[in-house]
Amino acid sequence: MKPMTKFIKQANLAILLGISAMTVMAADEKPAPATDAAATAAPAAVADDKPASKAPAKLAIKPWWAYQPVQAQDVPTVKQKQWVRTPIDAFVLAKLEEKNLKPSPEADRAAFIRRATLDAWGIIPTPEEVKSFVADRSPQAYEKLVDRLLASPHYGERQARRWLDLARYADSTGFQNDTTRPNMYRYRDYVINSFNQDKPYDTFIKEQLAGDEIAPTDPNVIVATGFLAGYPDNYNSRDLVQRKYQITTDNTDTIGEVFLAQSVACARCHDHKFDKISEKEYFQLQAFLANTSEIMDIPAPVGAQEIEYRKQLAKYQEATKDIRAERKAILDPVREKGLKYYRERYLTDSRVSIVKPESEWNPHDRWINHRLDNVTTEEDIAAYLDVAGTQKESTEYDPKLTEKYERYKKLGEDLKKFDKLKPAKGSDKITAMTELGHPEAPATFKFFAGDHERPLEEVQPDFPAAIANGEKPVIVPTATSSGRRTALANWIASSKNPLTARVYVNRVWNEYFGKGIVSTVSDFGKAGEKPTHPELLDYLADNFVKEGWSVKKLHREILLSSVYRQSSGSRADAFKADPENRLLAVFPRKRLDAEQIRDSLLVAAGKLNDTVGGPSVFPPVPKNLGAGNLWEVSTDTQDFNRRSLYVFTRRSVAYPLLETFDMASPQQVHSKRSVTTTPLQALALANSDVVYEWSQNLAGRVINEAGNDQGAELDRLFQILFARNPDKAEKDTLLKFLAGHEKTIKDKAESGKFAIAVPIGVKEDKQLKDPIRASAFVDLVHTVANSNEFAYRN
């Protein structure tokens, strides 16, 4: 409620002071009546008003800071010079000194390595890693640690998850049918590999926006366009013209938000109220994407996965050869009529393209017909056979087909029996965006109020003038493509673009410190927040480009800074002077995000399967989820313990254990993880069978590693989960619990329901004599894993 009341207060204030007549009007403004397509255009933006306290009157004169070129910065002079390890520190310290605040002391080494490992890898460190770092007396101890973290494939996995949030990554289309996209994992793996190889960020951008134009024959680059191809889609849409518009809109808005932190979407229905992006400019951005089509059958380079996939597929095909042949033979005679019937079911403006012979297609018709091809299946012909064979009142009815349909249906049931022979996951194809081998693009129009049925003038690809600072697109068509996206990518990935580097370094900063230098990480427009440390932001952006857009170097500098090394211990003076900790006098603590919680529990349990990449997996879900065939649990139990970023992202069925901890929604760009605290989260960690079983494993591991010594066990448990030993008071609490809890478990035995949980995986020589005590220990371990300290990064 807070943001809302805050906003209302500000709006009221605006009315009182009369500062922002425009803002106030906007809230009541009534848009044109909603025609079909105007609402298709949806979040139009009369509600774009921003808090009135940031009245735009003066800003209009001075160019907006974020559109100014990035400036190289002089490192400020500070008093506490010995604290400065990196230029970052000087920028932060300068602001602290202005407020007479001292930075916090260094975090102890164990806390530091837990923090850095969670940040860089997304999991907790092992006690051995902690011990060796704590004991490392070399002056390069921190550098060695940070370089080790950045060299591990876990680094790429962690950074990829952040990027996939932005790319609204999913393994399915969403909407009602939520069809599986079996090839999309290749894009996910591309992202992981890019971070692990420290691919320069400018290259990373270009490949995702125009990989098919830049390297049309290189599957490892083409796959990057999965960034564009990941839009939510419904294959059953009967309005293909609307679909094209919605896909282009998704791509345009996603690009604007992810790379440029501009909510360009506002300008789709009206000139942007705060940022200088006109409606025309918005559609000029759309024009870069006008000729882009999804293609799903590019052969993938053949590796072990593909060989295995094909082997399994061949088995299925062999076993079902006769059934499939007979089904095809039934459909063949009605294929033409069925196809005609099916195609007539598209809306009027789609049909204009559909009925045209291929020789007469213009680029727009080509797009529509390719789309139609992509979504037409045998089932559509079968649906016709159903109507013609069984619907007596239908004009298509033909009694001769009744038997054929019945037979077809029966064969379908037979075929289903072989489903378990199908490859359970994976593919041998790549999905990408391409221009289907044609350089000519369909025309793009500006639409009245964003309504695609009300086109106004035609527009050409161009950059928003306010951001472009005079730069114009240089479009060089290739033999097979319009070259438009390459031009767009070159502009975005240019060192001269005032936004790109700033936006990215700010995202990385946000990951480490829980708040960006610009806190609205995806809005650098006038409705967003201004930077708390503008010089630092420019220093980071400038240096990022100078260092060849190296993402690892950026992480390294932050990880090795004194700012990052501070303790997170509570400080009354800092809290009083800067309650939101915007100046970073204290290291900001943070609840682990969904993936960090699950993956760290797996690490603690000693169960993590750390295979990198590959098709997405389906770990078990609660029995009462009711997701039917949208969530068929993997048959390979090894899959259960993969890192969370490999868990299948089904747009309509979120994996419950992650969802409850505020995982990213894959429907749109997800810029920032929120932290909510709910009883449903407590239920998940306390009651999930999976988490409980991991606790049993963790208990077993502790016993194996600590021996049958109670004190040593408690030490070990805390070392694993918290990177520290319990203090005396905590030990007392735990021992008291064990004593009482053994009694509780005995009571259970007396009530006749004696089934107890015991540690899993205990080695022969460590077997416990007393099962009740062992069971009490499992509950202790489970409880400690539920504690606040585990769920936080200090």
């Binding site: 909603a34 609402a39 809005d523 609840r591 997701a627 089934a755």
Partner: protein, 480 residues
Amino acid sequence: MTTKSRRDFLKSTGYGVGGLALSGMLPALGTGFGAAYASELIDPLAPKQPQFPAKAKSVIWLHMSGAPATVDLYDYKPDLIKLAGQEVPPSFLKGIKTSTQGGVGKLFASKRTWNQHGDSGAWFSDLLPNLAQHADKLAFIKSSTTIGATHDISIMKLNTGDLNPGRPTLGSWVSYALGSANPDLPPYVVLYAGKREPRGGGVNWASGFLPAVYQGVAFRPGASPILHLDRPELVDAAQQRDSFDLLKRLNEQRGARYPEDTELQARMRSYELAYRMETTAPEAVDLSKETAATKALYGLDDEATKDYGTQMLRARRLVERGVRFIQVVSGTLDINGDSRDWDAHQDLEQNHSTHAKAVDKPIAGLLADLKSRGLLESTLVVWTSEFSRTSYGQSGSGRDHNPWGYTQWMAGGGANAGFTFGQTDEIGLQSVGKKVDTYDLHATVLNLMGLDHLKVTFLNHGRSERPTVVYGEVIKELIA
């Protein structure tokens, strides 16, 4: 209190009393659920006052999934019956984009008999004999319009106002604006008939860009309605009580280092809420204590009405427990061997008589029961669908999708009972005069909840978003 006597205490107080039983031993929680919020903790679900006095405290949002033909239920059109079998006069098709070339069939009348009911004289077809008895409780919207030719898109619009995923649903806005009236239950609950989640899933009760805490919680069929509500098989209640006591102590011992961190305190408290939810949630959906008469009222004694009746009775129990928004999605039923929702492209007779039978008595039972318990005044019941069905036929025995003109209704919760707003043309195809779009319906529902749809806002990416996107008008005539 020792651990043992604490358990005994729980036993002796019935163990299912939730907050009451626990309050004696957990001083931090105070007494009863009102007091649980008295603490200074920041809780996103803390109850909030409406912006102006609310007529409705709870909403039951009945989504008839698959889109029933309201010309066969409420919208009596003698001319349609007269003209049945003829081509649709072109004047009636003006201004609309019909979805299929081959699909605009001849005008089609189903085998209905129609009668007027109540003082209001509202028309009902013979498909809804029980609901017809409550004619005077309903406020009809006969000029509903929406967008789209595809179910999933229009269902998303029905719930979020948008055709693409990403916006919060109406229920999410309500829980965001009003919080929870009962900390032991989520403020926004989704019920569904049938064994599996409705297709399209969580998008239709998602919180979109609002924090996830405001999303709907799907209550699953069976005794254990919430995911992870049951303890692990080998952990009993006493064990968990021990564990949660330990957890509290550990959290307090360590948390002393961060006295200003309210998030840590909230997380500590969330385990106590969870512990109570383990009993309150199953109890909320446990129908075993309902009388045989009540069960019969909802049709639980008949296989045809049992499933939907169960959802209706659960809905009433949730209303009694302060849940703000209950979204009920109708399920699929066996129609000539196929599992189908209201989507009657063919076999409308069989389809609609089966579906109408499944919901008619349960909804009538709900209205009667709410009334007799004095809850109808503060409970808004809304019959909605993503769109409806055409006056012209399809496949000779069914109807196609109609987003241009159809009927929805509201009852209780300050709705203008006995009133009919708007109308369709003579054949029931398009709305004429003032139309009511999804946004208007949402604005009106929010108004009855004491919320101004223009002033419930959330700042997202620099945009001040509101529930009705950039549209919406409260239909004042629908408010008593």
